[in-house]
Every structure is written in structure tokens, then in C-alpha cells.
């Protein structure tokens, strides 16, 4: 398996020198995201997120299956991540790399385990039929910060997705096609998003700095990610509720810095959520050609 290409010594030294002067190589502020773009496909539940040069494509699909025997009232929700060699030649097919494992576990932790999707609403007939929602995350281009980008992609796609409408009569379930009844959106309880903080300590910056010897960056690109000494991923929803914190080895981070990270993440997630909502509204307006969408809707209004 080819190894990932590391930055050269000159780049490492230059990067450290720039950080000491409070400059980031791409000219961003330390707590600034790269340019975020979000496009939806023609189909429901297709989202394409571009964060700088990182690009993630997510597709949501739904099918009717039998629920797990131990959870007869719950539907099934799975997130499948895929990193192909197209992302980076160092990634091999069918052999999960560390990046891929971490990505899928963090998405699982942030979105599935925090109960973002109400799985009970996916139940059709207890114990025998339920919806299985599957989110396929395809990473098309890897330039750092896959977790945040994938999280945005999955949440946006879930909000965009519509599942076919159904009706139940006794043991008989009818799934209506798009022509018969307008599909209904999923019932999402909250919208968690991730913000990753990269930490740089003495190993990168060198000793002898009289100021605080630590630099924290948000939305690191690939080179910044390769050079970082530690990272913290905070999953927050737009109400500021923390869903998960992942600190996987690396530099020790003290409690005050962590609290600061969480408050910054709250602010960032609010901005990101606003952006996603704006994109969804623009897309809904585009689809609502004859202005009949409100009439066609089959779902009930719910207060979120």
C-alpha cells in the first residue's frame, strides 16, 4: 500500500514559522472555515458539499425491511462511508484505512447515536415492517477535515430527503409512488454538526516561545491535518447542545481550552446551520414550480 505523501521539511518549517507569526498558509483566520458550497441533486436526498477542495457526496435511500427483532418499534438507519482510491492514491479499496474508520465512527456517534433521526417514526408495522434509511457518504476529494464536511453533507441530505408516503390497513402496507402521493420528509429531532479543532504545540512550534505555546486551528486542510499534534472534534446542534466530543490521542488539552472549543463550536454550528437552511429554502423554492407544494404535502406540521 503506498504511503501517504508527507509535506517536505521546508514546508514544515515554513508552516511553523507562519503559525508563530499568526499567519495561516491560505490566509484564513485561525477560526475560519473555508468556502462552503452545498448543492442538491435532482433527486431527493442527494447533497454535494464542497469545503475548499474537500468534496463529499451523500445519497439517502429508503426501503422497506423487517426491523431488528430486539427493537420491533424502531426503523433502521445506517450510515455507510466510502473512501475510494479516487480520494487519494494512498487509500486502497476494501481495506478500511484509519481515516475511514474514524470518519464512519464519528458520523455514527454524532448523527445516529445522538438520535438526530427519530427511528420510531420509521416503523410501519411493529415487528414486521419498517423503513430502512441508508446514507451513503462518498468522499470525492480529500483536502482535510472530512468529518465536518461529511457531517454537513449527511445532515443536509437527511433534511432534503423525502420518503414515499405510506398507508396501513391492518397488516397491509401500501407504499405510494411519487405520482400518487407527494413524498414526506423524515422526522428529524435535531441537527448536530461537527467542528474539528487542530492543536499545535511545542512539537511543531518549537520551545522557547514566551507567549502561550499552543495554536488552535479550525477546518484544517490536508497539510495542516498532517502536521497537527492533536485534534478535538465537537459535535453540537444549533441550540448549543453538545452531542459528542472526540479526543483521540495526541496533545493533552486542558479543560479551559476544551470549554473554549465547545463555545466556539456552538457559534460555528449556528452559522453552518443557517447556511444549510438557506440552501434548503432556495432548493425548495426551485422545486415548488407551480406553488402547489403546500397543497400537496401529506405530512403533519410538527414543532421542532
Amino acid at each position: 500500500m503506498p504511503r501517504e505523501v508527507e509535506p517536505s521539511l521546508n514546508e514544515k518549517q515554513f508552516f511553523a514559522k507562519a503559525l508563530q507569526e499568526n499567519i495561516r498558509l491560505d490566509g484564513r483566520a485561525f477560526d475560519q472555515f473555508r468556502a462552503l458550497e452545498l448543492d442538491f441533486g435532482d433527486e431527493y436526498g442527494v447533497a454535494d458539499v464542497r469545503l475548499g477542495k474537500t468534496r463529499v457526496h451523500t445519497h439517502i435511500t429508503a426501503e422497506v425491511t423487517t426491523p431488528f427483532p430486539d427493537r420491533p418499534f424502531d426503523g433502521v438507519f445506517t450510515i455507510a462511508t466510502e473512501l475510494s482510491p479516487m480520494t487519494s492514491p494512498s487509500i486502497e479499496l476494501n481495506r478500511p484505512s484509519e481515516t475511514e474508520t474514524l470518519l464512519s465512527r464519528l458520523l455514527e456517534k454524532t448523527i445516529r447515536r445522538s438520535g438526530a433521526l427519530d427511528t420510531e417514526s420509521l416503523c410501519l408495522i411493529a415487528g414486521s415492517k419498517c423503513w430502512s434509511i441508508r446514507a451513503d457518504v462518498h468522499v470525492l476529494s480529500h483536502d482535510g477535515n472530512l468529518v465536518d464536511a461529511s457531517c454537513i453533507a449527511v445532515i443536509a441530505a437527511l433534511q432534503h430527503f423525502r420518503k414515499p408516503d405510506t398507508s396501513t390497513e391492518g397488516e397491509q402496507v401500501t407504499v405510494y409512488t411519487v405520482r400518487e402521493r407527494e413524498p414526506v420528509p423524515l422526522s428529524l429531532l435535531h441537527f448536530p454538526l461537527c467542528v474539528t479543532f487542530s492543536f499545535y504545540g511545542e512539537g511543531v512550534l518549537g520551545k522557547g516561545g514566551e507567549e502561550e505555546g499552543e495554536v488552535v486551528l479550525i477546518d484544517a486542510n490536508l497539510m495542516e491535518e498532517q502536521l497537527r499534534e492533536g485534534s478535538v472534534t465537537v459535535g453540537v446542534n444549533r441550540h448549543g447542545e453538545v452531542c459528542q466530543i472526540a479526543k483521540l490521542g495526541g496533545l493533552p488539552v486542558d479543560a479551559v481550552a476544551l470549554l473554549h472549543c465547545i463555545s466556539v463550536a456552538g457559534v460555528k454550528v449556528k452559522e453552518l446551520s443557517k447556511f444549510i437552511t438557506g440552501c434548503l429554502e432556495a432548493d425548495a423554492k426551485k422545486r415548488d414550480k407551480g406553488g402547489m407544494m403546500a397543497e400537496l404535502r401529506a405530512d403533519n406540521d410538527r414543532v421542532s
Binding site: 503506498p2 517536505s8 521539511l9 521546508n10 514544515k12 515554513f14 507562519a18 499567519i23 498558509l25 490566509g27
Partner: protein
Amino acid sequence: MATETFVLPGETLDPTALPSHPKLPLKLGPGLRHIPPNTITPTVAGQLCTDKRKNAVWVEFNGSRYIPTAGDLVIATIQKSSVDLYHASLSDYTPNASLPQLSFEGATKKTRPQLTSGNLVYGRVTLANKHMDPELECVSSSTGKSEGLGPLTGGMLFTISLGMARRMMLPKPVEQGNLVVLDELGAQGVAFEIAVGRNGRVWVDSKTVKTTLAIGKAIVDTDEKGLGVEDQKKLARKLARDL
């Protein structure tokens, strides 16, 4: 030297566009294919360039990965060293090139430069065959002088497209390649040092971090956004003002 004709793959070339020479045979460069008996068609889209003196014709296009050619100046990253060789990478995920440890200016067994993994060198490709790893040198084998080649210390490396690297290495980039951004930066009083590698790498060094980054940004933006002469001047003036 270069004519500005745009060609598409499979197009029929106008025979008058090809150079003719009384003695030399016609040389076909990248992007052209000879179909016997006497048809020449482009295989890529790009600008048809001709060199009357060498009786050569090729298509200038921006793309594909770097393929080493003897005589190319490249920026290589040292990966590891063995007994009397350094193994250096020219482009990512390709076999390493070998660089003899004694092919530096004035290098003997005792005075050779000690390079470790991650160091950058500016070298020339001496040997490049299709089925062999390329070989590099950092000294001119005829004169024994470095002629600007050797280890690069400090500075920053930027990645650009291969077409941009070729444009920057033209004898007269301003007239032939419409590339004025560096001249304009120099005219604004920005001092810097630069080394361009045919393998799509540019090494820039200057006194401050800000200047180096500004120059790198100027080059990369010109490359990625395909800026024209006026836009390049505007960009250079803006960057120089912000320093």
C-alpha cells in the same frame, strides 16, 4: 516560435501549419500521433506549437502527470538515502528517482551534503527511460559547477500545474507565455528568490513569511484562475500593496 493554433483530438492538421526543413526529419512532440503513411493527428486538445529551427511540432496542453525527460530541471523531495544514493520523489505516488550523493558541487566522500528525508533539492534529470527509475544530478557533469542546482533551504514549496511550470520556464515568459505576474511583483519592489521545477513545483523564498505567501498566492492564482495579462498586473499590484 510558437503559433497560436488551437487543435482538437482527431482533427486533420493543415499541412502548411507543419514546419519543413531541408535536412532534419520532422519531430513529433507530446499530443501528436503519426498514422502511416502520412497523416498526423492531435490526440489532445491544446495549442499547436512549432519550432522551425528544430523542425519540431507538438501540442501544448495543461494536464496529465509529470513524466521525467532528460534535461528537465525539477524540484525533488529526498525520501531516503542508501550507501551512495539519495532516493528522491519527483511527483507523488510514483517511483523515486535516484540522485548520487557525489553529484553535488565540490562533493567528495567527506564533504558531500548531508540530506535527510524531507529535504528539497533542485536538480536536473540525466536519465529518463520508460521502464527505469529516473536519475538526477545537482551539478553540471561537463563543468563541475552547480549552476544554481543543489539543496534548497528555507522557503516554501507550492504546487502548480505542469503547463504553468512550462510557461514559467520559457526563455521569455512575458512575450511567449503572457506571464507578467512575477515581473510586476518585482517592479513593485518585492524581493524574492524562486526555483521552478518542471514537475509542477515552485520553491519561493523571501525575507518574510508574508511576502513568500503573497508570491505563492500570485503564482497559484494565476495558474488556477487562468488570469490574463491585465488581471495578473492587477493581482500583483494588490498583493504588493497589502505587504
